[in-house]
């Protein structure tokens, strides 16, 4: 009880509303007033209700630690695994569960896949009986910052320091792609989250369309404007974006800011430092994007399109470029023509005076897996992750769902789709110049609703100038920095 109190408000009013008689309603008012008075004495009872459960059941005993079982999993304990059943499906996880069952024949595994992560699991966290491994993803993702802040998650350091599944001499930590471990940290050393998928963000386009304009992907902004002008003459818009969800724009804008002004600019933005957004590099990049609007290079009507509609318009050749992530290949597979020759590029910079080289790209983990602190068989959950981070499981994932994993490698010997192949190439070109803005997982509301919709969205629709947008966004960031109800994080 308690987890859906907010919704119950509405439900209750609807029930009251169906009776048209005034008496019922007035009675309700009286009753609520009266009940307000008795609230105080019932409080102790209520708090007992909200925190019911707790440590009712005991944790599984540790098993024997061997070379094959470095995490000392109890080989007869039950392990429960809840997966987000989204764009990546559930087959890859089922395959990994089979390996777990093979390795621990005496253990039973309860595997389930759902889209309703929060509605299924939030009550179980409240009761203190969460499952052992969760893919906390999708629209119903539970807020990681709150889970961490309330000590609900287990530190995954034992997993990272365990020998990897394929090579006993290598720790799991050393088999991962850059940035994965850091992304799982919030404050200090503990690693709370293991991101399994690896996403490349950038500017997505059709090589065929660029070829038809006799152009290469532009490396400087002047070239970008030239390409857009050429496209415009052919009746094609330069850019489109998910106008209803303008927080897609940062996928190319943030790495551009890093390229122009250096990594520190993004770090200071993530750290919510005063005047972080007033950095000249930010202004220069905002001006550049605003110019796209002013010169009419944005597809008409874009501010009213959602992500699917904008991707469809782009796939139909109405616009050349779109800021997006590597899931776009799978998501828009049905509308992308077979001769589209999909490619991703690191964002265009301003000019040769930029601090970082062309190729600086945003790449980071997706599909966050967590092991709850109160899990009964946490070691089992971590062992399951260790299996998933093996080369074989990783390759299985990549070939099935067209996405990279956190495992560094695992692409040899399988045929990559055009988008995925260009993503791998972009990562190779980037080398160490991979940036990973944390603002989108640290401060969701600030990033999506305030910077995205109220700031960038308004600017790209031409309703704010870059200077106004920066001032507004800085105001939001300052307010978030001061807001004591949000947990704050800093780059280490």
């Amino acid at each position: 009880m308690g987890s859906t109190t907010a919704e119950n408000d509405n439900g209750a009013e609807d029930i009251g509303a169906t009776g048209p008689e005034g008496v019922g309603r007035r009675d309700l008012i009286k009753r609520s007033a009266a009940l307000g008075l008795i609230t105080v004495p019932t409080m102790s009872f209520l708090s007992a209700c909200a925190s019911s459960g707790g440590d009712g059941e005991e944790k599984a005993e540790a098993g024997e630690k061997t070379a094959k079982n470095p995490l000392a999993v109890n080989d007869s304990a039950r392990m429960e695994f809840v997966l987000f059943d989204g764009g990546f499906g559930k087959e890859y996880a089922e395959d990994a569960v089979k390996i777990y069952e093979k390795n621990f024949p005496k253990a039973s595994v309860k595997f389930s896949a759902t889209q309703k992560i929060q509605s299924t699991l939030q009550p179980r966290f409240n009761q203190g009986t969460p499952p052992d491994l969760i893919d906390n993803s999708g629209a119903e993702q539970m807020d990681m910052g709150v889970l961490v802040g309330k000590n609900q998650l287990a530190d995954l350091t034992p997993l990272l320091d365990a020998p990897s599944y394929d090579d006993a001499d290598k720790k799991v930590r050393d088999t991962l792609r850059p940035g994965i471990v850091e992304m799982g940290q919030f404050d200090g050393d503990p690693v709370w989250i293991m991101y399994y998928a690896y996403t490349v963000y950038g500017v997505w386009y059709s090589r065929k369309a660029l070829d038809s304009l006799d152009e290469q992907y532009p490396e400087t902004w002047d070239q970008m404007l030239t390409v857009c002008e050429k496209a415009k003459k052919k009746g094609m818009a330069g850019w489109t974006y998910a106008g209803k969800y303008p927080y897609y724009i940062p996928f190319s804008l943030y790495p551009m800011i890093a390229k122009v002004g250096g990594r520190e600019v993004l770090d200071s933005i993530d750290n919510l430092e005063p005047n972080a957004w007033k950095n000249p590099a930010v202004k220069a990049c905002f001006d550049a994007y605003y110019e796209l609007y002013q010169k009419g290079y944005i597809l008409k009507g874009t501010p009213g399109l959602d992500h699917i509609q904008s991707q469809t318009a782009w796939a139909e050749g109405k616009a050349l470029f779109i800021p997006n992530g590597s899931w776009v290949e799978n998501e828009s597979a049905k509308v992308i023509p077979s001769d589209f020759d999909l490619a991703v590029s690191a964002p265009t910079g301003l000019d040769s005076s930029d601090k970082m080289p062309f190729g600086t790209i945003w790449a980071s983990g997706g599909e966050p897996f967590i092991v709850p602190a109160k899990a009964k068989n946490g070691a089992g959950g971590m062992e399951q992750l260790r299996i998933m981070l093996s080369e074989a499981s990783s390759r299985n994932f990549t070939s099935k769902v067209k996405s990279l994993t956190a495992y560094n490698g695992g692409t040899d010997g399988i045929t990559l789709t055009p988008g995925l192949e260009s993503g791998v190439a972009a990562l190779e070109k980037a080398g160490d110049n991979v940036v990973n803005p944390r603002i989108q997982d640290w401060y969701v509301q600030l990033q999506k609703e305030q910077i995205g919709v109220a700031g960038l969205g308004e600017m790209m629709a031409g309703r704010l100038t870059p200077a106004e947008a920066i001032k507004k966004i800085q105001g939001f960031a300052d307010a978030a920095a001061k807001d004591s109800s949000i947990k704050h994080y800093k780059h280490q």
Binding site: A6, D14, P20, R25, L35, N126, K150, E449, A454, E458
Partner: protein, 308 residues
């Protein structure tokens, strides 16, 4: 009998009242209680923080925006929906031209067909309606702008949901479209129970359509209108408004907070930001607004009941 009267009544009322207390009153108390805590909704631990959430709410500009929009919904939606529904129902049932040899009171030609057409949106779930209109409002290839282009209005291509000045009205129009049919049917039923003699008398006295409507139909239908009014108001403050705003609008809640409503804000705070306690605080505010709305409508609408 007098002796066991109360036991008798209690016996009948215990179960419904118990259910009501458990599923309506109890959640109310709980949410009021949680609004004084710092509960995140993601862990069983929380502590009392007094009026902190309420102070925060009063300083929260987004809360005030959502309140403003919710109030606008609660004012505009009933007026438009009930007004349209009354007009349609009147035309369907009473507004027809008198034909020789036919009944005295009749609807316009084809009224039974219209009745079905008006009711049709009611069979679609609100989520589907919202999705369909999200497509229709697509500025690039949506139905509305395509029609505008088709009739030569190439220069009039609004962004609809992408325009902060239009978005809220666009959303409201969808709610009107989807709810008006139900009230046409409701009011039709009400009008059918008004005795024909009243209309005949009015006609004999030379009353036109407008007079008939305002002097005969509306007063006799007043009870139905009033409950309909509250019903739409609560839809506008509650679930239906949430569904359309959540599914259709930018963000959702935008562009630039131009469509955010209280229910949406409750949802976002509880389930996106992990601030369940603050969400219940806004929920309490929503409760106050809803009760106030119902109280005002009941008070303003009090009239003597006509017996016929």
């Amino acid at each position: 009998m007098q002796h066991g009267k109360y036991r008798f009544i209690v016996g009948f009322l215990a179960v419904p009242l118990g259910l009501y207390a458990l599923f309506v009153v109890w959640p109310f108390i709980q949410s009021i209680y949680y609004s004084f805590t710092d509960w995140t909704g993601l862990s069983p631990e929380f502590k009392m923080v007094g009026f902190d959430n309420y102070e925060r709410m009063l300083d929260d500009t987004i809360f005030w925006k959502s309140l403003q929009h919710s109030l606008l919904f609660a004012l505009v939606l009933p007026v438009v929906t009930i007004g349209l529904a009354l007009f349609f129902a009147f035309m369907i049932n009473v507004g027809g031209r008198h034909r020789k040899g036919g009944p005295v009171v009749t609807g316009v030609r084809g009224s039974s067909f219209y009745k079905i057409v008006y009711f049709f949106p009611q069979v679609l779930s609100i989520a589907i309606v919202a999705l369909l209109f999200a497509f229709a409002y697509n500025p690039d290839s949506g139905a509305i702008n395509s029609i505008l282009r088709g009739i030569g209005l190439d220069s009039v291509q609004p962004l609809w949901l992408g325009d902060p000045d239009l978005a809220l009205w666009a959303v409201m129009a969808v709610l009107v479209w989807s709810t008006v049919g139900f009230f046409v049917v409701l009011f039709s039923a009400g009008m059918a129970s008004i005795p024909t003699e009243m209309y005949e008398a009015a006609l004999l006295d030379g009353a036109g359509r407008a007079t008939t409507f305002f002097r005969v139909t509306l007063p006799l239908l007043w009870d139905t209108v009033q409950s309909g009014w509250i019903y739409v108001g609560i839809l506008a403050l509650g679930a239906e408004a949430f569904a359309v705003v959540q599914i259709m609008t930018t963000g959702p809640g935008g562009p630039d907070y131009s469509t955010t409503v209280m229910v949406l804000y409750v949802y976002q705070k509880a389930f996106r930001d992990g601030q369940a306690a603050y969400a219940t605080t806004i929920g309490v505010a929503l409760l106050v607004v809803t009760l106030a709305f119902a109280a005002i409508v009941m008070r303003l609408g009090r009239r003597e009941r006509l017996e016929y």
